[in-house]
Amino acid sequence: MKHWKSGAAAVAAIISLGVAGCSSSPDPTTSSTGGGGDALTGTVTYWHAYSADSPEVATLQDTIIPAFVKLHPGVTVKDVPVPYDDLHQKLITAAAGEQLPDLVRADIGWVPELANLGVLEPLSDSMPDFQTFADQVFPGTLATNLWKGTYYGLPLDTNTRVMMYDDSFFTKAGVDVPTTVEQLVAAAPALKQAGAFAFADNGAGGWNMLPWIWSAGGDMTDPDVTKASGFLNSAASVKGIQTLVDLYKAGYMPDIVLGGEGGLATSDGLATGKYATILDGPWMFPIFADQYPDFTLSTSQVPAGDGGSISVVGGEDIVMTQSSTNKEAAMEFMRYLLSQDAQLAMAKVGQMPVLQELGSQLSDINAYYAQFVEQLKTARPRPVTPAWAQMDTILQDEIRAAFRGEKTVQEALDEAASQADALLAQYN
């Protein structure tokens, strides 16, 4: 990598004569690290993906940051909003150019990848009070920050999928709302009679399929995330997926699971009585309130199988970069973001807190949170590995092949497992 810089520097020296006036002043991130709490100074840059004009960004900019600055007047917090779809690419490019900010609100799936690149600060080592925070958060959310025995971040906000349905539809169809997978399968014909698919989902990746695998008692990898064979293709995992494939083949699941755009979205299908149940997250409530104000959205736990009712954890973590020149202040801001005040402020605008303590208070903020809090108690993260992006794609392709009948579920999961093994081997 070194020859890049010398070559570029030589060219730069020649060209800079001609590019006068185009130079910029770099971000004044001073490197003073105040010793204690009120001696903190400098700038902390924080990248996030809250959209413009959203209540989240308003809360961040008008409530949280000013409150923090009040406590630490010497610190300036610069929040940089980045469109969500492009944040990952911007992070990777910045990592390559060593231009990362101090803090990033990263999707949980990116943390092991960034940690593996070596650009994240190992918080469990360098943050003295790390364990205090670790103990306060939901275990599933903390696990998303673990890579090779070290924690590289803390959870910031979380979410999970629960089962969503229209109560009045079930009443009309004369069917009890299913709480187990068996009941769902049994109810499918009656629901079809009433004009709806029993269950609909728009993908076949980890986010979609893992609740079914886990609830059936299966798993994707071993606990240390070193291999998938023996786990992904275990009898329990196969059973979990087979249930869905059978539903699809019998005509009780729509083909949007095969992917591709343009099909009837899960939310629209639910609202119009075409889908009886879907799995989705807390953001659906504001969306339904806006799009379908007359519709009452009901929720319950993910249908239980032999392994219980286990859903998948989503959300974002807050990570600090190794290259940060103002780590003390950044760490302090991180602590503030995990304080009850900040977490509650965000909870009011739809960002579920990660602090377990706040669980009971959440239903006061939004009644619908209760179901998610319950599900979060057992919810698990997707395999925490830099290979996840690729594994997810493989899983999706293989399972879709099973749906299309090109291979059996066992064959599909065998193939996915062996490919996943090869990928995981790179990191172990």
Binding site: W4, K5, A8, A9, V11, A12, I15, S16, V19, G21, C22, S23, S24, P26, D27, T45, A49, S51, A52, D53, S54, K78, V80, P81, V82, P83, Y84, D85, D86, Q89, K90, T93, A94, A96, G97, E98, Q99, P101, A265, D268, G281, W283, P286, I287, D290, Q291
Partner: protein, 279 residues
């Protein structure tokens, strides 16, 4: 008589064809306009109902009231104007040299330009980022200009070279005999005669830089420095997007581009070259 009728008929046929074609082309745009006047636009409504039942200016008010929106607009304008001028100037000069002059190495240089046409810019983003970092052009609004100009040169040079080719050589000879050097011939002959081509170049260059998103997003962090496409992209949420808002913002962003287009397409008027030939 007959000729009048047939001329009237051809005119009518032309208009009908154009009107139908225009409707098909413009329909999605009309749909955009229609949605921008609706609230409750998290999912797109019926495409056949173009007229919103309760039209509202709410989206526009919200967009225009968004913090820094005017700032982004002006940033984009500044970068686009400066870049366009440089692109047109440098491309025209290179195109002229390729199309009208004979010199050793011409083929080599031109081949290198063609290669630039085939290179997808997305692939270059990381090395370009490293280059920008080494040149200290990161996070800087003026720093966008060299990159925008550099990436647009191949296309515009190729385009203009094709047009400069069409200028009759006799005119060049005539001026050369009068003692005019290449620079004079460039300014007094090639440029004025190529007004349609230059106009095209201006339109494309402006549109390209005004709309550019990926690079601007990658290098700009400071909110003050950001450009309009970034602002529009930020209206899209992670889980849901209010499309009326995005459409309203996009429509506002389209206005300068349309103005540039309307102004410069005036050059597409026949008869500019006739006078020169007679001379």
């Amino acid at each position: 008589m007959n000729t009048n009728n047939s001329r009237g008929l051809t005119l009518l046929v032309r208009y009908v064809l154009l009107a139908v074609a225009a409707f098909v082309m413009v329909y999605p745009f009309l749909y955009m306009v229609s949605t921008s006047f609706k609230t409750r636009s998290l999912s797109l409504g019926d495409p056949t109902s173009l007229w919103p039942s309760e039209p509202t200016l709410e989206n526009y008010k919200q967009v225009l009231g968004t913090e820094n929106f005017a700032r982004y607009f002006l940033n984009s304008a500044a970068v686009a104007i400066v870049s366009t001028i440089l692109i047109v100037l440098l491309s025209a000069m290179m195109a002229y040299a390729f199309a009208r002059l004979d010199w050793p190495g011409k083929r080599v240089f031109f081949t290198l330009i063609i290669i630039g046409l085939t290179i997808p810019t997305m692939m270059l983003i990381v090395p370009q980022f490293l280059l920008a970092r080494d040149l200290h052009l990161l996070n800087s609004l003026p720093g966008l200009v060299p990159f925008y100009v550099g990436t647009a040169l191949a296309f515009n040079t190729f385009l203009l070279a094709g047009f400069f080719e069409q200028i009759p050589h006799e005119l060049d000879e005539a001026m050369a005999i009068d003692g005019a050097g290449p620079w004079r011939r460039f300014w007094k002959l090639a440029m004025p005669l190529s007004k349609p081509a230059i106009g095209t170049c201006v339109i494309f260059a402006f549109l390209g830089t005004w709309d550019e998103f990926a690079w601007a997003l990658t290098v700009l962090n400071d909110v003050d420095n950001r450009t309009l496409p970034i602002a529009i992209a930020l209206f899209q949420g992670q889980h849901s997007t209010s499309w009326g808002l995005v459409f309203a913002a996009s429509l506002i962003a389209v206005i300068p581009v349309l103005i540039v287009y309307i102004v410069f397409q005036r050059n597409f008027v026949a008869g500019l070259t006739t006078g020169a030939l007679k001379n």
